[in-house]
Amino acid sequence: MYEVRFHGRGGQGAVMAAQTFADAAVRAGHHAQAFPYFGAERRGAPVQAFARIDSRKIRLHSQVSEPDLIVVLDASLFELEPVTEGLRKGGRLAVNTPMRPEELEIGEGAEALTAVADATAIALETLKVPIVNTAMLGVMCRVQDLVPIDAITEAVQERFGGKLGALAGTANALSARRAYDVAAVGTARGRQRFARAKEWRPAWNEIPAGTSLPSSSVEGVEIGPGSARTNLTGEWRWSSPFYKKEKCIRCLRCWWSCPDAAIDRLDDDYMRWNFDYCKGCGICADICPVDAIDMIKGVHRWE
């Protein structure tokens, strides 16, 4: 049994990558499966997906905890979660990064033969969007030989082509091929352990009755009761609302409409944005009748 774990962010296509890898594995004559683990189903949120390959029918449905290969679609995740956890002895990594494997910091004292490529640049060049899944399918072919690159490009062509049109299929297959061609392979090491919020895993009788938690009782959970305390989802934002107070007529529409309750209504009925949680959806700017809110590209905070 050969097991793969994909780490990405919502929107990068980690789930499609895992599915396409399984598809290619079947084309190469193996039994295969792939499945996602969904947490918060939102763009930018960390997601995981899994794939298994075997010579016989696969019965397991549990998540992959001891992968032979870990594919990282976003290198910033190394700091956010224990990406290399459980990597089997002799296991490999494939990482989206412009750095060389030797320069990478993979955390937790890990060490692994690693294939790297600047998948974001390749995706921007071939697809015109930073969706890196197909490029990473190419990169991972440099550190595993069960599924050859030809099976990958064939599966990509068919899956993406079937879903998004033949042109998209060709562009994505090109993305995979190009990444495969330019990927560098070397040994990556984890020299440091990243400081992370302590995982809060209370016993059943330590949780207050009900399904919600008062903020005072939470030490830090990624998802679940009380997770908003430590999971500052504002980091998923790629554009930020700029408030022109002088134009505001205090109609409160933005305040009502914010899906994340990230707008605070002040005593005088003017607004203040909570940039820890604002995901930059732009609904406030859209609904404002007097054009008092501008969406500015990038992750900004204003007082």
């Binding site: 449905h61 905890s65 009788n205």
Partner: protein, 388 residues
């Protein structure tokens, strides 16, 4: 084809020539309805898709369509199934052979999108047949069989095909999608009985006074009992045509000389089979029964298979809040006069990952009970904190 189990179910609805598909989106079922609308759009499926404003309306449309004499399919999950509750009880007594897929998902709070069986098990008294599948191929094959079973003249009851949310619905694997001509040989054209006819109006589902209701309920019970042989026959005929056999009411795994066994539903069985293989390799006589049908509950058949066990464990992915789960209660009743001790095992609640190690822990308890040791009668596996 390398597809999700949801897509596999959609293919089955297409191959079975379902003619009306009402739908309302709910994760993790949504792929089924999406895929069906794509089939219809692409001209691969000649069906009417009816987007309804709620699941209550979905089931109402399904009841109306089926009463009108057309083959009807839909899919739902969790709160969707809960919102259908009232109309589920309309489908069965009217003897409407609707087939519905249910992507098992935790219902209500603690709010989650992940697998739990507490959506479908609580409606096992609605008069529907309920089958639980383990893999993508079986999801397709059982949806096909569901039409055969539901429409059988002896049965004429709706069938719910249950598949674990995400763990199965969103898992891609290689699935053999049969040719339509082959499926046509397995599922004959829908032969509606007493369908509504504009030329010959009648009232459907009128007020039924006590003078009639009891007999109608007994009819339902007879039809449910009759479905046992129909299920077995469908499994045989399916195997003859497609070469795949699932065991009908339940699948027995390494039960021949087993001394202790577990009984459970759904994808859990994959890990359980692995655990049984490991135990067998250590010379320990473990067996597994993957229960497939909860309604009809195969009480007699299970008694025949389990009466000589030294102990049996049930796996539960749904609580009854009376100290035990629903399967324990059902199985204990089935084994009442056999003296076989039963232990109950909770796991995977709210979609928590179930590993082979977790299942082995369950088997360890059953085995200890088989040796005559005193063990906890109901264990919550993986629970943080001391179980009381």
């Amino acid at each position: 084809m390398v597809i999700t189990a949801d897509a596999a179910v959609a293919h089955a609805a297409r191959l079975a020539r379902a003619e009306v598909v009402p739908g309302f989106p709910i994760t993790p079922q949504t792929i089924i309805i999406e895929q069906i609308t794509e089939f219809i759009n692409d001209g691969e499926m000649d069906a009417e898709f009816i987007p309804a404003e709620s699941e209550h309306s979905v089931m109402s449309v399904a009841v109306g369509a089926s009463a009108g004499g057309v083959r009807t399919f839909t899919a739902t999950s969790s709160q969707g199934l809960a919102l259908m509750y009232e109309m589920l009880f309309a489908a069965a007594p009217n003897r409407l052979p609707i087939v519905m897929a249910n992507a098992n998902r935790s219902v209500g709070a603690a709010s989650g999108i992940w697998t739990e069986h507490n959506d479908s098990l609580p409606v096992r008294e609605a008069g529907w047949l309920q089958v639980y599948v383990e893999g993508g191929q079986e999801a397709l094959d059982m949806t096909l069989q569901a039409f055969r079973i539901a429409e059988d003249a002896q049965v004429r009851l709706p069938v719910m095909v249950c598949l674990d949310g995400f763990i199965l619905t969103h898992t891609v694997e290689a699935v053999d999608v049969p040719e339509r001509a082959q499926v046509d040989r397995f599922i004959p054209p829908f032969d509606p009985v007493g369908a509504l006819q504009p030329s010959d109006p009648m009232t459907m589902s009128p007020i039924v006074p006590p003078e009639f209701a009891m007999e109608m309920r007994y009819q339902q019970d007879r039809a449910m009992q009759a479905s046992r042989t129909v299920i077995a026959r469908a499994d045989e005929e399916f195997a003859a045509l497609f070469g795949r056999r699932y065991g009908g009411l339940f699948e027995s795994y390494r039960m021949e000389d087993a001394e202790f066994a577990m009984v459970g539903l759904g994808t859990w069985a994959g890990e359980a089979k692995e655990a049984v293989d490991q135990l067998r390799a250590e010379g320990r006589k473990a067996g597994l029964i993957r229960l497939r049908f909860v309604r009809p509950f195969p009480a007699e058949e299970l008694r025949a298979s389990l009466k000589d066990m030294r102990a049996v464990g049930t796996f539960e992915r749904s609580a009854s809040f009376n100290g035990f789960g629903p399967l324990y209660t059902e199985l204990r009743s089935a084994l009442y006069d056999t003296g076989v001790p039963i232990t109950d095992h909770f796991g995977g609640i709210g979609g928590r990952d179930i590993t082979v190690t977790t299942v082995r822990e369950m088997y360890e308890v059953v085995e200890r009970r088989a040796r005559g040791e005193s063990v906890r009668e109901c264990t919550w596996h993986g629970l943080r904190g001391e179980q009381e």
